[in-house]
Amino acid sequence: MTHVRGTAIEAVALVKRYGEVTALDGLSFTVPAGTVFGLLGPNGAGKSTTIKILTTLSTPTSGAATVAGIDVLAHPNAVRRAIGVVTQGSGTDRQATGRENLLLAAHIHGMRGRAATARVDELLELFDLTGAAKRLVKAYSGGMQRKLDVAMGLVHRPSVLFLDEPTTGLDPQARSEMWAEIARLATQERLTILLTTHYLEEADHLADHLVIVDRGRLVAQGSPEELKSELRGDAVVVELAPDASVDSARTAVEAMAREVTVTGRTIRARVDNGASAVPAVLAELERAAVAVAAVTVARPALDDVYLRHTGRTFAAASASASGSGSEEVAVA
């Protein structure tokens, strides 16, 4: 995807405070038009807050932003006409049918008569909802509801689409369908898509560019490939046996590898060549009389990028974040 046509979204030094809580702490990023941009971070990182500001729902404590070239603070209504929004959770009317939901969205965007119904039928077809069009949304499965959400965001052919956790809570089948649809929208309809996700795998799969956000700050950005290639070599993960000494294990691994971190009984480290380093690491651990339960070697993944920039694993960060709405913990 190389069709750069300028800038679709620009966020400049966004700060958002809720009383004592600083949800965004000077977040800046630029989204080139026609790309899929991923906002990745654990619970409470400030992803939804960013989306709310960019979609004019909320105003920042300080900072500025433009979407589709329009200033979100100065001309919120013009922004609203240019964007499609899929909020975290759902935004469908459960007491109405799928078709009624779509028609209302079309009408609100000023589409009338046959133009509106034709567009609605087209989207129902596209999202495989034609058969369920006349059923009330409360009878839809989670995956169908989410598809309807996305369809509603597309009714007026927006130039920028915001997707706040489009696949959270979906089963693997529904998730891969959603992925395919998002990828298709990006390539065939040349939409700019900003999506947030807990899933490193999702960001890796879909995003052309991504930023990793933690506690309201940008901690890393680039394409998934760039971020991964920042990490030289392979990751080695050692699981210690229950009675092993974590301290001696750490000293032993540090002798053989770099960037060593310990979480519970798991030691992570980086080596130039995993295949040849593992026997050496194991020998060193044996010399230190440390019992090992398992060893794995992995090519660099986004999880490692996250670990390196924040000092926490993604799963640990998601699990430790408190007070946010989602019960989901990322599995990378």
Binding site: T59, G91, T92, H109, G110
Partner: protein, 258 residues
């Protein structure tokens, strides 16, 4: 480029459709005013013997009172639909779309207006069946509905504005209950003005609920004082417009909390 009118139409359609899809709710809405009329009619049958009552039949007197109380008890809950929308993410989606805020408020008002007119028709029919007489005829009944719609507008805007500020159904229920009963008893809905203590008479002359009742009874009487009716309709109109305006501003308060 105004979106107010078309958006109001589409959003009202959505609300009416949602109401019709809850048959139990519709049935309760229709039965409740009947019960009130029958119950209060029996309970207070002999109240007309008190000094201050002009008419000899309590049903004649009570019918407009029950219409107005129904308005209060129906439109006081208007904000519940807003809270449902907030809980379901519909509100956020609307607010991030070009949907006119004024239309969102007006659609709720129109939905309430339709409901209270339907309820009003039921009350009038039951009243007639119980032997009520309305010398003011059709014109009087239409004036009563007009006054009721204006009161419903003011009350549903109040309820919606409150919903946008408190954002939970518990608080809204508390607010609504706290307001509706005192406001109906601080009016001549059930008891003739002259039969109430003096301080209540004073308070009720500032109470839009009382304006609605007085305008309705006057218009339903044999020889209405149209000046008094118009004055109260104008007052109700002003209250409705002002609450509508303030309630629409409350969308900002809601968005500030996001």
């Amino acid at each position: 480029m105004t979106t107010l009118t078309p958006h109001t139409g589409y959003l009202t359609g959505r609300l009416l459709m949602a109401t019709l899809r809850q048959p139990a709710f519709v049935v309760i809405m229709l039965i409740q005013p009947m019960i009130w009329l029958l119950l209060f009619g029996q309970l207070f049958k002999r109240i007309v013997e008190l000094p201050g009552f002009a008419t000899g039949s309590y049903i004649d007197f009570l019918t407009p009172g029950v219409v107005v109380m129904t308005v209060l008890f129906t439109s006081g809950w208007a904000g519940m639909a807003f809270i449902d929308d907030m809980d379901r993410g519909v509100m956020d989606r609307m607010l991030a779309s070009p949907a006119s805020r004024g239309a969102m408020m007006l659609a709720s008002v129109l939905n309430q207006a339709v409901t209270v007119v339907v309820q009003g028709v039921i009350v009038v029919l039951v009243g007639l069946a119980l032997g009520a007489e309305f010398p003011g005829g059709i014109a009087g009944i239409l004036v009563m509905f007009l006054a009721s719609v204006l009161l419903a507008a003011a009350f549903s805007c109040l309820s919606n504005g409150m919903a946008l500020i408190v954002r939970t159904s518990e608080s809204l229920i508390g607010f609504s209950t706290m307001l509706t009963l005192p406001l109906s008893f601080l009016s001549s809905a059930m008891i003739a003005r002259e039969a109430a203590p003096e301080w209540i008479q004073t308070v009720s002359s500032y109470n839009p609920v009382d304006w609605t009742v007085v305008a309705s009874r006057e218009a339903l009487s044999a020889d209405p004082d149209w000046g008094a009716v118009l004055l109260r309709l104008a007052g109700l109109f002003v209250v409705a417009v002002v609450t509508g305006f303030i309630a629409t501003r409350a969308f900002r308060a809601y968005q500030k909390s996001l």
